[in-house]
């Protein structure tokens, strides 16, 4: 489904991603863990083409998305991103946040777009907030709107970049619960997270990144009980 081959990316002279190779099968849940600055966000942002890699290939749906004639806007609809800081549109209310892309990108009539949005907002438990101004929501509610907003486009892949890191502790659970419910759908999910218990429960594969390389990729059982690499053990010790 997603195949990353020899992916490299530098900022100025800082090598942030070094020859990354990853394979992600359809409808699986992958988590990426690793210490701050190891390149996790950059990797996700490359998959969504918010960053342009320096070299390597990213093959999605059998197409190299780095080809110069690749239709990026069309691709991003199918590979959607949920951000640490939610990035809800401040000028729009909850419902409009969810319908704007449906209406303007997919040209779906307002009435139908509203139905799709309300369904997804209901699924994340925010039916009563559809006309609310997004600035008045709690962090947990904001992130659930962001998830609903992504879901409206019916994506094949959702990328989560530390979806709970900006939340107060008491709101982390509601967002993790929402993400868990997605794992049952036909969606491929890649999550960068520091929530180890969650990663263990939800993932099919856990990848540990350090200093721009994927050190090892293991099933959660092995990753959290018996990782092979010394660096992985060192990192995981901090969470046990």
């Amino acid at each position: 489904m997603i195949q990353i081959k020899n992916l490299s990316k530098s900022f100025n002279n800082l090598e942030v991603l070094k020859n990354i190779n990853l394979t992600i099968e359809k409808n699986t849940v992958h988590t990426i863990i690793g210490s701050s600055g190891s390149g996790k966000s950059t990797l996700l942002r490359c998959i969504n083409l918010l960053e342009t890699p320096d070299s390597g290939e990213i093959i999605v749906f059998n197409q190299n998305i780095l080809n110069s004639n690749f239709d990026i806007d069309n691709y991003r609809r199918k590979v959607s991103m949920v951000f640490q800081n939610f990035n809800l549109f401040d000028n729009l209310n909850v419902l409009k946040n969810c319908t704007i892309a449906l209406e303007k990108v997919l040209k779906i009539p307002t009435k139908q777009a509203n139905e799709i949005a309300i369904k997804n907002l209901t699924d994340v438990g925010l039916k009563d907030f559809i006309y609310q101004n997004v600035k008045k929501l709690s962090g947990g509610q904001k992130q659930r709107v962001a998830i609903a907003r992504s879901l409206c486009l019916n994506p094949d892949v959702i990328l989560f970049d530390e979806p709970t890191s900006a939340l107060d502790p008491e709101m982390v659970e509601e967002v993790l619960k929402t993400i868990k419910s997605l794992a049952k759908l036909d969606i491929t999910i890649i999550i960068v997270t520091h929530e180890m218990q969650f990663a263990r429960e939800v993932s099919d594969t856990v990848h540990f990144m350090d200093k721009g390389v994927v050190v090892e990729s293991l099933s959660p059982e092995i990753m959290y009980t018996n990782p092979k690499n010394e660096r992985t053990r060192e990192f995981l010790k901090k969470f046990l």
């Binding site: 729009l92 704007i100 006309y131 907003r149 486009l153």
Partner: protein, 244 residues
């Protein structure tokens, strides 16, 4: 003063209306110029854009930069002379009112472009990233997400341009536009009461600018009100429309 008012009130009223008309239409058209120019300036060539698109963007960016530099760097009075008589010398006889609106619009457009640019810069870049990650093009992101926020953020500065324009239309008397200052000059000329006449003129300007800034303040508060304290229970379809 009363005598002057009694005799010439119609001229004052006429001048005031012309001044307001030029300032208002000039500010609005200028705002549109500013929006269009900053829209074009913010469409970046992307990796997959065609060569022609890249070249067109380069050229239009250069033209816009030049336009902004020239019109912010020279007095409107001078611009008025060049534009009005320039067009005239090409053989077009155009009305002074139209000329005035064109001049104020172009001049204001240059300032508005800078105001909107500042408004855009103050927006968190996550807003654009979120829009792009939902498949919006750069243009769609600008039109539906970034520009509305930029306009809202720069509302005080945009309003201020209107007030500045109310006062600055007075320089258009150099091309003979019959606005408030021009009328006052004529009145002063025929009544020989310069100080009295221009005191009335000053009071009229003051009254307009004061009233306008009050009105703008009201709208500013209202914009802020929607943002900070819209009660959810009362937000209905209408609230939604207002919010957009």
């Amino acid at each position: 003063m009363i005598l002057i008012l009694e005799k010439y009130w119609l001229s004052f009223v006429y001048g005031t209306i012309i001044t307001l008309f030029i300032a208002l239409s000039g500010t609005l058209i200028g705002l549109i110029f500013g929006l269009i120019t900053s829209l074009i300036k913010n469409i970046e060539a992307e990796k997959n854009s065609s060569y022609i698109k890249k070249i067109i963007l380069k050229i239009s960016n250069f033209i816009i930069d030049t336009y902004i530099t020239i019109f912010r760097g020279t007095p409107m009075m001078v611009q008025a002379m060049i534009i009005y008589y320039g067009v005239y010398s090409l053989g077009f006889e155009w009305s002074k009112i139209i000329a005035a609106i064109v001049i104020v619009s172009i001049n204001t457009g240059a300032y508005m472009a800078e105001i909107i640019r500042g408004g855009l810069q103050s927006i968190d870049k996550g807003q654009n990233e979120a829009a792009r990650s939902l498949g919006m093009s750069q243009k769609q992101s600008l039109i539906y997400i970034l520009m509305p926020q930029a306009i809202k953020n720069s509302f005080p500065a945009i309003g201020n341009e209107f007030i500045v324009n109310i006062k600055d239309t007075s320089v258009l008397n150099v091309i003979g536009v019959i606005e408030l200052y021009f009328q006052s000059s004529s009145i002063a000329g025929s009544s020989y009461k310069i100080v009295e006449t221009f005191t009335i003129t000053a009071l009229i300007y003051l009254f307009i600018t004061f009233t306008v800034s009050r009105i703008l303040n009201y709208f500013e508060k209202k914009l802020g009100f929607i943002e900070t304290s819209f009660p959810s229970s009362q937000t209905n379809e209408k609230g939604l429309v207002k919010n957009i």
